[in-house]
């Protein structure tokens, strides 16, 4: 699997077509199509409750769409989710941190679960990278939400994920934390990783993006290169496309 990834045909990390997800009669996602290449970042904007989390969970193979097709890293994610799981990592609302384990022990656990090298030095380097090395042996219970998110990112560093999905990664971070996370994500992209950041606050989320998409009412209503959009354009479009129908309904 990993060898094949080098070939150019597999440069498309995400290929989603007409994804629909319904709970009962109401659709949460109503035909979402999306493509993302390796080394690209996509910021997914949308007010709360428009299906961002649902979309991310489908892309992560945690949730099955009602219909549509999804290929991740060249493999059919709906037919053989197992095949793509090694290529995906995710930092969602939860940090996957066990409260009663130390930072180090948490990393050790997830490294081994992911089938990665769990050598002490390697774990320590990752902790240094996220600036948690001073609390490596403290229990995660004492950590702030921001520290837990950094611990989750250290876990991402240890893995071999080529697609990283982040759900509202900037909430609860101070200015320095946001800057740090931005740099972290840029370096992930620079190493050829694809990135999808779902957020409702576009000030923070747009910096790392090559493309910006707006999700509203279960559909992608805008998908453009970030370079084409000035901050004012974006705010105007966002208010128009995302907030408009929401407030109307």
């Amino acid at each position: 699997m990993r060898e094949r990834a080098a070939s150019p045909a597999f440069d498309l990390m995400v290929q989603a077509e007409h994804l629909r997800k319904t709970y009962g009669p109401t659709p949460v996602l109503d035909g979402v199509s999306l493509e993302l290449g390796a080394g690209q970042g996509l910021t997914l904007l949308g007010p709360n409750g428009t299906g961002k989390t649902t979309l991310l969970r489908i892309l992560a193979t945690l949730l099955r769409p009602t219909s549509g097709s999804l290929r991740i890293a060249g493999a059919d994610a709906l037919k053989e989710p197992e095949a793509v799981r090694g290529a995906i990592d995710m930092v969602g609302h939860g940090s996957w941190v066990y409260e009663d384990l130390s930072a180090m022990e948490n990393l050790r656990f997830w490294s081994i679960m992911g089938g990665h090298d769990a050598a002490q030095t390697r774990l320590h380097t990752a902790l240094e990278e996220v600036e948690l090395d001073t609390v490596a042996d403290q229990r995660a219970r004492t950590f702030s939400a921001g520290m837990k998110r950094r611990l989750a990112l250290a876990r991402v560093l240890l893995g071999r994920a080529r697609l990283l999905l982040l759900d509202e990664p900037f909430t609860g971070l101070d200015r320095a934390g946001r800057k740090w996370l931005g740099e972290f994500l840029m370096s992930f992209k620079a190493r050829g990783g694809a990135l999808i950041v779902a957020t409702h606050s576009f000030d923070a989320g747009v910096g790392v993006a090559d493309r910006v998409a707006i999700l509203a009412g279960g559909r992608i209503v805008l998908d453009r290169p970030a370079a084409e959009l000035g901050p004012d354009d974006l705010r105007r479009l966002y208010d128009e496309l995302a907030m408009g129908p929401e407030t109307a309904s």
Partner: protein, 222 residues
């Protein structure tokens, strides 16, 4: 195998630090002892006659508590998602969780036996090897189904209610076999007397274990 081991390591370490389940379970066992005593009255003969049943009643009730908690820790911080996204065979997680439950049950069973021995003036030392075999077979069966059903109910409302409703009828064979075999052992009869029951327990263990291993990935998906 390495994954199963790390799951056990993680759970045992967490448990050793929080002692959430173990403390509650040991205390629960002591309470059960009092309940049995009050329900049966002070006569020693009555306790002795009902002993195999009482023991397994205690194990099953504590087991219900333990199994129901098995996967709750995975709900904190959405660790469950991480387990689902773990590439590779999910049955390793089942094996790890099962081993953790068997360990926990073994501690509880040891505590209950000691308590029974002290409070009812019983002596288990002579029958200990036979008894351990019966306990091991019975516990493995209970925990195999309990771990699987605990994973199913962990994601549900009314899980405290649903787990016993699903588990108790399913483990009737384990209960029948264990109680009968325990009786044989406690009467001091040779283990061969209970051979049929031990075989049934072993067969049940294998069936439950295989079903658990094969179906766990579908349960884990949440």
């Amino acid at each position: 195998m390495r994954r199963a081991w790390i799951v056990v390591w993680k759970d045992v370490l967490s448990e050793r630090r929080s002692k959430e389940s173990l403390n509650a379970l040991v205390f629960f066992s002591i309470l059960l002892l009092f309940v049995f005593q009050f329900a049966l009255g002070p006569e020693r003969a009555r306790v002795e006659a009902a002993l195999p049943g009482l023991l397994w009643l205690g194990f099953i009730l504590s087991g219900l508590l333990a199994f129901g908690r098995t996967f709750l820790v995975e709900r904190e911080n959405d660790c469950w998602e991480g387990l689902v996204l773990t590439p590779g065979d999910k049955s390793a997680i089942y094996v790890g969780k099962l081993a953790g439950n068997v360990l926990l049950m073994a501690v509880v069973e040891a505590v209950l036996l000691v308590l029974f021995a002290v409070f009812f003036g019983l002596d288990f030392t002579g029958v200990l090897p036979g008894l351990s075999l019966v306990l091991a077979l019975g516990t493995l069966g209970l925990a195999s189904v309990g771990t699987l059903f605990g994973a199913i109910t962990a994601q549900m409302r009314a899980r405290e209610l649903l787990l016993p409703v699903l588990l108790l009828p399913a483990v009737v064979p384990i209960l029948l076999g264990s109680v009968s075999a325990t009786q044989t052992v406690l009467l001091g009869q040779p283990l061969a007397e209970a051979a049929a029951w031990l075989k049934l327990l072993a067969a049940a263990d294998v069936v439950y274990l295989v079903v658990g291993l094969l179906t766990f990935e579908f349960v884990l998906e949440g």
